[in-house]
């Protein structure tokens, strides 16, 4: 089982490789990837350097081209595929059917993974992408239960990668437009959710308000920690009740499921967080490396060590972690 880790820049990539990443995924510095944030990501030169470093140290580099191009921007997506092929990227992580078609036709030998943004949650969808574009792997959305993941893996149409740790999208990836409804920019179109340019913090007598394009997402008392106004993580009013109507700010942590994932035949576990720090990546990757190695050595007696769980809990968003949809009652 492969450990696939995030890197938003070159130092993060080095930290991931040094701490035992089997593969690192990166994006270019534009809207062709779903972490299109200021100051983040790679240009052609740093991407090439990243590939060289990773290859020298026995790791692979995947390129995320996981947003949906519109006609006016098509050349950027095409170019991302071309550059990836030229600099020796090991696999492309693609969401859009048009981009998959372009990559499969022009670079048939460059492996293609279906991005989680491609929203493939069932065997027939996987069969479509396999038949049309000969994808070798699919990253599956964080909405399936462990039983559903197992069934999908049993089918064996394509290798599967699942999310192991990091921010949790409660909506099916690639099928959420809440952000563009509020701000005009969404993960699909711009590679951004609840973009920083639309965020405004307002201090009032009653505490801190956080707003997204003027809509009040949440307000915090002086003794509460004010969180970033991600549109699905706000406190809203429903029939007179004010609560986290969609999702509380928690993170996904599936470390304890490792033996089950391995037994199900899952080929890779992905860590989320290209937008986080180098220290974060180093620490999370180190813990997961140790855990996966321990699980591979002896899955029967695998137990999560308290220091792993504490280490991960300490750096999670909202500091609470959950098994998410893998654990059926969460649904």
């Amino acid at each position: 089982m492969q450990l696939v880790c995030p890197a938003g820049n070159y130092p993060m990539l080095k930290a991931a490789v040094e701490n035992g990443a089997d593969a690192v995924y990166i994006g270019f510095r534009d809207d062709t990837n779903a972490r299109h944030f200021a100051g983040l990501n790679f240009n052609d030169g740093s991407a090439q350097k990243a590939v060289r470093y990773a290859h020298d140290h026995g790791s692979k580099v995947y390129l995320a081209i996981n947003t949906y191009p519109q006609p006016a921007g098509w050349e950027r997506w095409q170019r991302a595929v071309d550059v990836a092929a030229a600099i020796g990227i090991d696999a492309l992580i693609i969401a859009d059917i048009g981009v998959l078609a372009y990559a499969a036709e022009n670079y048939p030998d460059l492996p293609r993974h279906l991005s989680v943004q491609g929203s493939a949650t069932n065997t027939e969808a996987l069969r479509f992408y396999k038949t049309q574009f000969d994808i070798s792997r699919a990253v599956i959305p964080r909405v399936l239960s462990m039983t559903q993941v197992r069934r999908l893996a049993e089918n064996g149409a394509v290798d599967l990668e699942v999310f192991g740790f990091g921010s949790l999208c409660v909506m099916v990836e690639g099928r959420c437009l809440l952000s563009s409804y509020a701000t005009g920019e969404s993960p699909n179109t711009c590679g951004a959710c609840s973009p920083a340019s639309a965020v405004r913090w307002v201090e009032t007598a009653n505490g801190t308000q956080c707003r997204l394009n003027d809509m009040l997402i949440d307000q915090f008392d002086a003794d509460e920690k004010a969180g970033y106004p991600v549109v699905c993580k706000g406190r809203y009013q429903v029939a007179g009740h004010t609560y986290h109507a969609i999702e509380e700010p928690t993170s996904l942590n599936t470390l304890e499921l490792l033996p089950q994932l391995q037994q199900a035949g899952i080929k890779a576990v992905k860590i989320e967080g290209r937008q986080r720090s180098t220290a974060y990546v180093g620490r999370v990757v180190g813990i997961w490396r140790e855990a996966i190695d321990s699980c591979l050595r002896d899955p029967q007696s695998f137990v999560t060590r308290p220091q792993w769980m504490q280490g991960l809990a300490g750096i999670s968003e909202g500091t609470q972690t959950t098994l998410g949809a893998y654990n059926r009652p969460w649904q």
Binding site: A101, F128, C176, L178
Partner: protein, 299 residues
């Protein structure tokens, strides 16, 4: 410009849904979509019931299309969709790529529903080759991008081979989840949801703490709190090459809304206002390349 009626997105009792569709037989619509697109647990009408109802409605001469689930998770969901896709006569709206594959297997034509991610003509072309004969534009796209896509489709030689439909009226389907937010509001697990969504025939409004309407909860689907109303833009749509405007059913006044759309499309009136029929304000931002919730011309 033809008018279509989208699938009922809410969970209505069987009798209510059947009565609603039987009324539509005499309405000024050309196309009717029906089927459960939101939650696999909603089985007031099972696939066989939908097919039977669809066949009955088809006798009216309108085009009847069976719509499939947008989020297919379990094997049992797939069996239900297979049943719809293999109905043998009626057109199918695929709302997940899995349904596209099932239609392509049979070499049968299909409609690509609004939850398929079609953002460029290359994607359209791939789906056309699998049998797509009509697509419903993803709701977050705008007039300008639609024009670009259709002009690229022309260059690819498929411009006149596919029809374009725009989700023109209704609460916009914005997101799908494994979680049920209606059950969450009632503090009950989804596996024991008791079908509480049936108590909200037009969804459950979710407002900001300042009382501004923001979203609308419909089980595992999150909709726009405002109601998109694009009738004021129908001439622009016609110029761009849109073939159908879709009206998404509400529990109240849908007949009156269809009537107003038809009157305007026929030139009987220029008055596009429908605010008096609605329980929430309208929006039209997406069409104008603005945040979806924005509104200027509507009403």
């Amino acid at each position: 410009m033809r008018l279509s009626l989208g699938p009922i997105l809410f969970f209505w009792p069987r009798q209510t849904a059947e009565d609603f569709y039987r009324q539509q037989v005499n309405s000024p619509l050309e196309v009717i979509y029906l089927g459960e697109t939101v939650c696999a647990k909603r089985r007031n009408l099972k696939p066989a019931d939908w097919i039977e109802l669809a066949r009955e409605l088809a006798a009216s001469g309108k085009q009847i299309v069976l719509s499939t689930l947008a989020l297919i998770e379990a094997g049992s969901d797939l069996s239900a969709i297979r049943r719809l896709c293999q109905n043998g006569e009626l057109l199918v709206e695929a709302n997940d790529i899995g349904a596209v594959q099932l239609m392509a297997d049979q070499k049968l034509p299909f409609v690509a529903g609004p939850s398929l991610n079609i953002y460029n003509a290359y994607t359209l072309n791939t789906l056309y080759r699998q049998g797509m004969q009509r697509w419903v534009m993803p709701v977050e796209l705008n007039a300008e991008v639609l024009g670009d896509i259709l002009s690229d489709a022309e260059s690819l030689g498929i411009g006149d081979k596919i029809e374009t439909e725009v989700f023109s009226f209704g609460h916009l389907p914005l997101a799908y989840s494994a979680r049920c937010f209606t059950a969450r509001f009632h503090n009950i697990p989804k596996d024991h949801c008791e079908f509480v969504c049936q108590d909200y025939p037009e969804g459950l409004p979710m407002d900001t703490q300042e009382g501004v309407e923001f979203f609308n909860i419909n089980g595992i689907q999150t909709q726009s709190g405002r109601i998109q109303h694009l009738l004021p833009y129908w001439r622009q749509m016609r110029e761009l090459g849109v073939d159908l405007m879709r009206i998404s059913p509400l529990a109240q006044n849908t007949g009156e809304i269809i009537g107003r759309y038809r009157q305007v499309l026929e030139g009987a009136t220029d008055d596009t206002s429908i605010d008096h029929c609605l329980s929430a304000p309208t929006c039209d931002g997406y069409w104008r390349r603005q945040p979806g919730m924005d509104s200027i011309a509507a009403g």
